[in-house]
């Protein structure tokens, strides 16, 4: 067997607190990275995966300290090297593509100059030769016009383009090992799919060793051949992707996989109990407090045990439990109540259009401004979930703002209980405001950091029902129980809560208004998989109790599949397909829906490259015909650019908008995802 490129032995890293104590982030991790290996590291946020990754480059953030262990490359411990020796290793031997490339690129340099810097530093390539190399690298990154891109500043590029620049920079040093930290987090599904395809292509061609860190099991399944599952700073499972995902041994891995919503299953994923803590002492199994299988023996420290070839797991009971069905922690993954389509309509969105106009003095002479939402019609029914699907910039959030009265529609109207809803929230009645609630994407920003939870939950009760602080307390306690939180939280501040807990409080706040409609704007996209499942479960439970209508805005089709009865697909502000969930998720699809579905990552199927069109850089201009024409793989030249496509309804309530007849579309597509 060849020698490992990087060898981590017994590595422990901790972070010093101002109080002097040290919080462990990585505990006793040993791993070998073989040449040509494609390693994935997966775990919840806070599990130490980023710290471990940076340690592969001999780097520890801020107030972190190496407590034990070594990171060796060719027998030399990286932590014994000085800064200039490390510079030789970083970039040239091991290169990092940092999380959030947009922030990692220097804003005052063109991207070409930043790549040139890497070339000059690590490969002594300068001048004309460097220019040539930069163009070649950018072409490899599938930029259509590399010369143009090279002179752009980072802020002129989109998130996906920035990520590709970061990748080009990492590759410019011709490293042996490429480390990618959350390479696709924050990108649209289709952009993510393209980036992963690109990565696949590059690394497969060059046999490059890669380490991909992600919280997303789908990304790992797509990019890695071997996976390490981390929990509380420890490796809890290590094996080939095919083995681990098909046959997970550790209860934590099993929980993670069960918590993953599946595009092919219209059911709620199973949530995991508890949450990742901190300050572990490693005197017992770290996962035991959350483990459904925990027994007496779990009070002792488990070792990484070999279960089969290339598969190790840190669990005392892995063998005994391997045939046991995991007991439900919060609820089983039962199928949803599909409900009947004949529920009363609560909110009726009629042909609305919206635009962000320039200031009046700039455009008073013309009525311009591109509509970001055009002719959207949606009906929300009591007790039903309607999902609104689309990429960023498709007008999803604008629609949410219109419903909540923060942005006036340019045309059309929104009716609540068959009475027109005023466009401006300040002119809506108390009842109207009460009935339309919004849960935000980012729970960090939606709760006032200086208010206690009690205050946050009291305020809507005061505004909508005139309850005093004392009166509201009983309701707040009840509601906390409904969202499965302890009443001790009432005196806490949002910063003392985890992301999932904050989102529960945000949901509790919305439901304290006893609304008829709740707009959920990407409510789970900022949450870890295990927390996401619990929040989805909670939303469905709350809906069943109160018969609230949901408008569930999401870019994640797998999540949509789990909760929605009805789906509306939005592209560039226009609806291109709608219908009951089962009809939208089965052929025939609108070409855009097909693209979105092809981009969904799954841990058990490998998506083929040919389902995604190769065109990456597409700028949407104002079009007279179909807005999707520039990206459509089946666009009809001369027709789609000029003529708006017709609606093609079907008896099932499903409709799509395309020039291709339904049966033609269906014939070329997989019947069921």
């Amino acid at each position: 067997m060849s020698t490992p490129l990087v060898e981590v032995a017994g590595l422990s890293i901790g972070f010093r607190r101002p109080s002097g104590t040290t919080v462990p982030a990585v505990h006793d991790v040993s791993l070998q990275l073989m040449p040509g290996e494609r390693l994935g590291i997966v775990g919840e946020s806070g599990c130490g995966k980023s710290t471990l990754t940076l340690a592969l480059l001999g780097y520890i953030r801020g107030n972190g300290i190496r407590m034990q262990g070594t990171v060796r490359r060719q027998g030399v411990d990286l932590f014994t090297l000085n800064e200039s020796e490390l510079q030789q290793v970083r970039g040239a031997e091991i290169a990092l593509v940092p999380q959030n490339a947009g922030q990692a690129l220097a804003p005052h340099l063109t991207v070409g100059a930043q790549i040139a810097d890497v070339l000059a530093r690590h490969r002594d390539i300068t001048g004309q030769h460097a220019q040539h190399q930069i163009v070649q690298l950018l072409r490899d990154m599938r930029f259509g016009d590399p010369d143009q891109i090279a002179v752009c500043y980072p802020h002129q590029l989109s998130g996906g383009q920035q990520q590709r620049i970061a990748l080009a920079m990492a590759l410019a040093g011709a490293p042996n090992v490429l480390v990618l930290d959350e390479p696709t987090t924050g990108l649209d599904v289709t952009t993510q799919a393209h980036l992963l395809l690109l990565l696949d292509e590059i690394t497969r061609n060059t046999q490059m060793t890669t380490v991909v860190v992600s919280h997303d099991l789908g990304v790992i399944a797509r990019t890695a051949s071997r996976v390490i599952v981390m929990y509380a700073g420890e490796i809890v499972e290590d094996g080939l992707v095919s083995q681990v995902f098909a046959n997970p041994r550790h209860p934590y891995t099993r929980g993670l996989i069960a918590a993953l919503p599946r595009i092919d299953r219209p059911e709620l994923p199973t949530a995991m109990a508890g949450q990742l803590g901190h300050d572990y002492t490693y005197q017992r199994c770290t996962f035991a407090p959350r483990c459904a299988f925990a027994q007496q023996i779990c009070d002792t420290v488990p070792q990484l045990l070999v279960t089969e070839a290339m598969h190790r797991v840190r669990c005392h009971r892995w063998h005994e439990i391997s045939n046991e069905v995991r007991p439900a922690d919060v609820g089983t993954g039962i199928g949803r109540d599909e409900g009947s389509i004949t529920m009363p309509v609560v909110l009726d969105i009629k042909n609305v259009a919206a635009t962000y106009q320039r200031r009046r003095w700039q455009s008073w002479w013309r009525d311009d401004g591109v509509d970001v939402v055009r002719d959207v019609q949606i009906q929300l029914m009591a007790g039903q979930t309607c999902a609104l699907v689309g990429e960023s910039g498709s007008g999803k959030s604008t629609l949410a703002r219109m419903i909540t009265g923060l942005h006036p529609p340019r045309r059309g109207e929104i009716r609540l209980f068959d009475a027109p809803l005023h466009a401006d929230v300040s002119r809506r009645s108390v009842a109207e405001r009460r009935h339309v609630q919004l849960v935000f994407q980012n729970p960090d920003s939606s709760l006032n950091p200086r208010h206690t939870i009690a205050e946050i939950l009291h305020r809507p009760q005061f505004v909508f029902f005139g309850r005093s602080r004392a009166e509201s307390l009983a309701y707040s306690r009840d509601m906390l129980q409904n969202v499965r939180m302890d009443e001790a939280y009432l005196t806490r501040y949002p910063s003392q809560l985890s992301g999932g807990e904050k989102q529960r409080i945000a949901i509790a706040r919305a439901f304290l208004a006893e609304p008829a409609v709740v707009v959920c704007d990407e409510v789970v996209s900022a949450l870890d998989v295990s927390v996401q499942a619990a929040v989805l479960r909670l939303l469905v439970d709350m809906q069943q109790k109160s018969q609230t209508a949901y408008l569930f805005i999401s870019h994640d089709l797998a999540v949509v599949r789990a909760v929605a009865q009805y789906v509306v697909v939005l592209y560039a502000g226009q609806v291109c397909e709608y219908g009951p969930a089962e009809t939208v998720f089965s052929a025939p699809f609108h070409p855009y829906t097909a693209l979105l579905l092809a981009a969904v990552l799954s841990i058990d199927t490998t998506p083929s490259a040919d389902t995604l069109p190769q065109r990456i850089d597409v700028v949407d201009g104002a079009v007279h015909g179909c807005p999707f024409v520039a990206r459509c793989p089946v666009a009809i030249a001369g027709v789609c650019e000029t003529t708006p496509p017709p609606w093609q309804p079907a008896a099932t309530g499903h409709a799509l908008r395309c020039h291709h007849p339904r049966d033609v579309l269906g014939a070329n597509q997989h019947p069921q995802v």
Binding site: R428, Q437, L438, F440, S445, P449, R450, R459, Y493, S495
Partner: protein, 274 residues
């Protein structure tokens, strides 16, 4: 809360000494600040007169102690008014935005563009030099800076979702400004208060020195420096003591403002109110 550094404690200590001396002036001061004793004129510091005497034989030490009362009352009062009014204006315009924001901020810019000494002199010349006028003049001069700083801080919070949530709830502007935004910028307000207080101490002494502040024979540090300026070589203690008092109070207020910034800054990052 983070451990305060030695320097922070020094600042707090100095400020406490100043406040206690001003409050307990009648009991601490060995002489009346205005008592004239021609037989003791221009005496150097001694056991009898700790700070020496001026040309009228008034006890410098007693005058410095009583002078603190005026300095503290004027500076703290006007700083408090400037910071609360300026803070509320800053938060309000940050939230409301648009036309009103533009108009108010341009007015603020106009005020800032006038040198503060000139502005103070104009106001005092026009309206006289009573304590009320001086406080008003200080508020007008120092409020614009507060508005700017607070507005910039509040802008960061205005775009947060909890403000959107409040708007969707149909909250009135006054609730959003007072209950949602104000608690979040409170730490900035405290820091601004201490800093402005120190600037105002300097400005008040400066005004008195120029003869536009409080009237003689009221003991005032700036006035004392002006009165004893002529005897700089013969009786330097006449100006050293009031100058030392101004310097220590300004330093104390600055150190306290740093301490507040540090203490609250830490909690700002954690987001937990103190």
């Amino acid at each position: 809360m983070k451990q305060l550094s030695f320097v922070s404690w020094l600042g707090i200590g100095l400020l406490v000494v100043h406040v206690v001396m001003a409050l307990a002036a009648p009991w601490i001061a060995p002489y009346s600040p205005t008592a004239i004793d021609a037989t003791q004129a221009m005496r150097p510091p001694s056991l009898l007169h700790w700070g020496g005497t001026d040309r009228y034989g008034r006890d410098i030490f007693s005058r410095v102690i009583y002078g603190g009362q005026i300095a503290l009352v004027i500076s703290l009062t006007s700083a408090a008014i400037a910071v609360v009014c300026g803070g509320l204006i800053g938060v309000y315009v940050a939230y409301i935005g648009g036309f009103i924001d533009n108009v108010i901020m341009r007015l603020i810019d106009a005020l800032i563009s006038i040198p503060s000494v000139l502005l103070l002199l104009v106001i005092v010349t026009a309206f006289g030099s009573g304590n009320g006028v001086i406080i008003a003049a200080m508020v007008v001069s120092y409020l614009p800076g507060v508005v700017r700083v607070v507005r910039a801080t509040a802008l960061e919070y205005v775009s947060r979702d909890f403000i959107q949530a409040a708007r969707i709830r149909g909250e009135k502007t006054i609730h959003i400004v007072r209950d949602e935004l104000w608690p979040n910028i409170l730490d900035v307000v405290f820091v601004e208060f201490a800093m402005n207080a120190s600037w105002i101490v300097l400005a008040v002494s400066g005004l008195s020195f120029l003869g536009f502040g409080v009237n003689p024979p009221t003991p005032d540090w700036g006035l004392m420096v002006n009165e004893n300026r002529a005897m700089l070589l013969l009786a330097p203690w006449g100006i050293l003591y009031p100058m030392g008092a101004v310097a220590t109070l300004v330093i104390a207020l600055n150190l306290v403002s740093d301490a507040i910034a540090k203490a609250l800054g830490l909690d700002r990052s954690r987001g937990v109110p103190v």
